[in-house]
């Protein structure tokens, strides 16, 4: 059978039947910014950071199947401008004070902001009031940083089989909820052994008594920018080892 290829910014890249644009790109070591995509979980295409132009249309690379001969625009000023704007909206919608965040240096949202040279949040800050949930003995939930990517929802539902998390509400009121009568994590059967404990790309689901273990300069995205970590991102698995 003839090898199928698509063109990434003019570069021919082979792919296998059934792969999405994101999977084809990652296999070829091409970086497409993304937040809600994780190789272990079913893609859902909600953050739109991975937006590319395929055959002239804006599509989510993580959900769109690759097609033979498809021309994909990825690393262009137009797309990166749009992605930067999406990041800025995510930043002002929550409370992202990186200097006091345990995820700083290992955070995908922050790493993408560096990659796309986001120097300012640009929009007025919402400064929402979102109390934290410290009820669980091992895990802290800091909702101030939730970007509603639903990775924890998917991991808990589809892999752990526990349904600990869900999104509730619509539009601006949409937020992450915990599935227990009290609404508190301490009253669920959630544990550090769950996949969902290790998928959050930002600093919401945090293991207690472990923060700031890695010195500044040695953290994941201090060492290399995220755009140079495609291979690791493509092969990652949510587990205890993943910081």
């Amino acid at each position: 059978m003839k090898q199928q290829t698509l063109l990434f910014d003019g570069l021919p890249v082979p792919f296998e039947e059934g792969q999405t644009i994101m999977e084809a790109a990652m296999a070829a070591d091409i970086f497409i910014p993304h937040l809600c995509h994780h190789p272990e979980f079913k893609p859902q295409g909600s953050c739109k950071l991975c937006t590319v132009k395929a055959s002239g249309r804006y599509v989510s690379a993580c959900t769109m199947p690759a097609k033979d001969g498809m021309e994909v625009e990825n690393n262009s000023p137009d797309l990166n401008d749009k992605r930067r704007t999406m990041l800025q909206m995510l930043f002002v919608e929550g409370n992202h004070f990186c200097p006091s965040c345990e995820k700083s240096g290992n955070c995908m949202l922050q790493a993408l902001a560096y990659e796309l040279e986001m120097l300012t949040p640009h929009f007025p800050q919402f400064f929402p009031n979102r109390p934290v949930d410290a009820s669980h003995p091992e895990v802290l939930l800091d909702f101030n940083r939730c970007i509603l990517c639903e990775l924890c929802v998917r991991a808990s539902r589809d892999v752990d089989g526990k349904h600990v998390f869900a999104l509730s509400g619509r539009g601006l009121k949409k937020h992450l909820i915990v599935n227990s009568e009290s609404g508190r994590l301490g009253d669920t059967d959630f544990s550090m052994a769950d996949k969902a404990a290790h998928v959050c790309p930002v600093g919401v689901i945090l293991e207690k008594r472990k923060g700031f273990a890695m010195p500044i300069g040695k953290r994941r995205y201090d060492v290399d920018p995220i755009g140079m970590q495609v291979e690791r991102l493509a092969n990652r698995s949510a587990s205890e080892e993943e910081v």
């Binding site: 409370n95 004070f97 990186c98 200097p99 560096y114 800050q125 979102r130």
Partner: protein
């Protein structure tokens, strides 16, 4: 004909700290001996380094800190009126930073807790001297009040980041911070 070539005019730089901790200014001083190169190119206007009280016409203004009281806004507007290029330096100027962590607390409650009800306080009172600037209901980043031309994130930005930014600007290049100079913490 031996008319001396006049030395190029030095650019005038003003700096200030609003709702910040002076950490960004300390970081600015961290450019160390490069300060000597810098003063060949610039001269200081209003700044904690000169003690000039009001900003005159300047080429560049560097603002540390966000806006937590009425005086901060007054000073920021003075800088905007006088500086051709205004730069937000550090996390607090860029997004409110640490002081903005009080934003989800009611201001009245916050003052009560700090000055009246905190354990160990005897006979405390909320400061009300008319000379004190009134606190704002919420702390805001400076771009929410005046137009800002450039942003240097970081808490604080490193001396190297500030140096790279300023030298790019002084040499007429588009200032750019790449890995690892661009960081938010």
């Amino acid at each position: 004909m031996n008319a001396a070539v006049p030395a190029p005019r030095k650019l005038r730089l003003a700096t200030t700290s609003l709702a910040g901790c002076f950490g960004c200014h300390m970081s600015f001083l961290d450019i160390d001996e490069r300060l000597l190169d810098l003063v060949d190119l610039i001269e200081f206007d209003r700044s904690p380094l000169t003690d000039i009280k009001h900003c005159g016409p300047c080429d560049i203004g560097l603002i540390e800190g966000g806006l937590c009281n009425a005086e901060n806004i007054h000073v920021l507007r003075e800088f905007r009126r006088n500086c051709k290029v205004l730069i937000a330096m550090g996390a607090c100027a860029v997004n409110g930073g640490l002081p903005a962590q009080r934003n989800h607390i009611d201001l009245g409650q916050c003052l009560q807790e700090v000055y009246l009800t905190q354990p160990g306080l005897v006979g405390g009172q909320v400061p009300n001297d008319p000379e004190l600037p009134l606190p704002l209901d919420k702390v805001h980043p400076i771009h929410e009040v005046v137009r800002i031309d450039y942003f240097i994130p970081g808490c604080p930005p490193s001396g190297d980041a500030i140096w790279k930014f300023l030298t790019d600007l002084l040499k007429g290049r588009t200032p750019r911070l790449g890995h690892p100079l661009l960081h938010f913490d």
